[in-house]
Symmetry: C2
Subunit: 228 residues, 2 copies
């Protein structure tokens, strides 16, 4: 946990801190997020913690069970499909818009992002690499200058991180940065149509790298899981 008690933690900063921890798989799906525990860790009262957990539950990153507590969400196979369905509707067209508005500064930012992701991978910081990989997509929405869509994509990216934690099947890990590289090239050429197509196939590749027909549903209850 973050444990730096010198900071003035607010509801929003706690949300951001927890969201990043979840996104980086430092808090795996299913992790219990006790209110007292979090309050002690951040040095704040349960009031703030509850507001943060409520916010995270609205983003579907945390599941609140009445009188049971908060847990890092465990998206179902169904939900996983839906998330990528939504991404497929939003992201390709957003990449198209972004390509048309792309500035040199934006390009540099995206390039830096890819570089940092490479560095993180080399350093064995796979969590940080995953986070940066997601940021690449959010950044595109920001460049497209569509903050409303950006909010949706940002949520979907974080949820995708949970989905990856649950359903990722081992494969070539470099396909990610390859796809981002190709996108960057299209952006550099201001080729909006190519960017849209590349994003579309990138998302299809992502889904294909998941194991979603598997019946190993994240156990809703231990009882049910062990009764087989």
């Amino acid at each position: 946990m973050s444990t730096i008690e010198t900071k003035p933690w607010t509801s929003e900063t706690v949300v951001a801190d927890l969201e990043r921890a979840i996104h980086e798989h430092r808090l795996p799906p299913g992790t219990k997020l006790g209110e007292d525990e979090l309050g002690d860790a951040y040095g704040i009262s349960r009031t703030i913690v509850r507001a943060a957990l409520l916010a995270l539950s609205h983003r579907h990153l945390v599941e609140l069970k009445r009188n049971r507590g908060a847990f890092v969400a465990q998206p179902s196979v169904r939900e996983a499909r839906e998330v990528f369905e939504a991404r497929a509707l939003l992201e390709p067209r957003t990449a198209h818009s972004a390509a048309l508005r792309m500035t040199d500064k934006d390009l540099a930012l995206l390039q830096a992002n890819i570089r940092d992701e490479h560095a993180a991978l080399d350093a064995g910081e796979s969590g940080r690499a995953l986070f940066l990989s997601g940021q690449f997509h959010v950044e595109i929405a920001r460049i497209a200058d569509q903050s409303t869509i950006e909010t949706f994509i940002s949520e979907l990216i974080s949820r995708s991180s949970l989905i990856i934690a649950l359903y990722w099947r081992r494969r070539a890990a470099l396909c990610e940065t390859q796809a981002h590289h190709a996108l960057l090239d299209a952006f550099a050429r201001k080729d909006a149509a190519a960017a849209e197509e590349l994003m579309k196939s990138h998302l299809l590749d992502l889904v294909a790298s998941l194991d979603l027909h598997n019946v190993s549903q994240p156990p809703t209850s231990l009882r049910e899981a062990l009764q087989r």
Copy 2:
């Protein structure tokens, strides 16, 4: 206000009640939502009210100003454009999916919705008609069996209601139900391509019926608004 104190109001029911009131324009944009006031109205403590307001702020229906309180949101022209941009990405394709999954029961529900909207209009209940008109769109997402996208569309519909309250320009009011009728026909024929196109143009018509180039921004501050 709702004032029925015999009900066991929970955070969620209060959110639903307030959201509907906002959607039906009983709580116009800019309305101050005092915590004590709401707590008294519903017969609950500020704790629950705050949770509800927090939820509504996450849906961009309420704006929270630090140490100032909660207000019904006043989407900017910029935000209005973004909301309809997002709807344009999500809804046509969702209508396509819905057409393919449409059952007779679903058709009946949509038909009933249109009928109720007509009835509400005839009865002069324009707020209720607007709400039902929005429900038509949410229902399509539900029929498409995409709950994640449905959540997004539901939020966008509610925000659209605020946008209509602020930027609607007088016009033929029946264009709405006409478009919904046409959609229903396409659904009945299971003509997914037609449904997709009809939804696309319906959304374009909606945007066209708004006055978004107008400079009469909802005043961010009274000072600024009166200094002209």
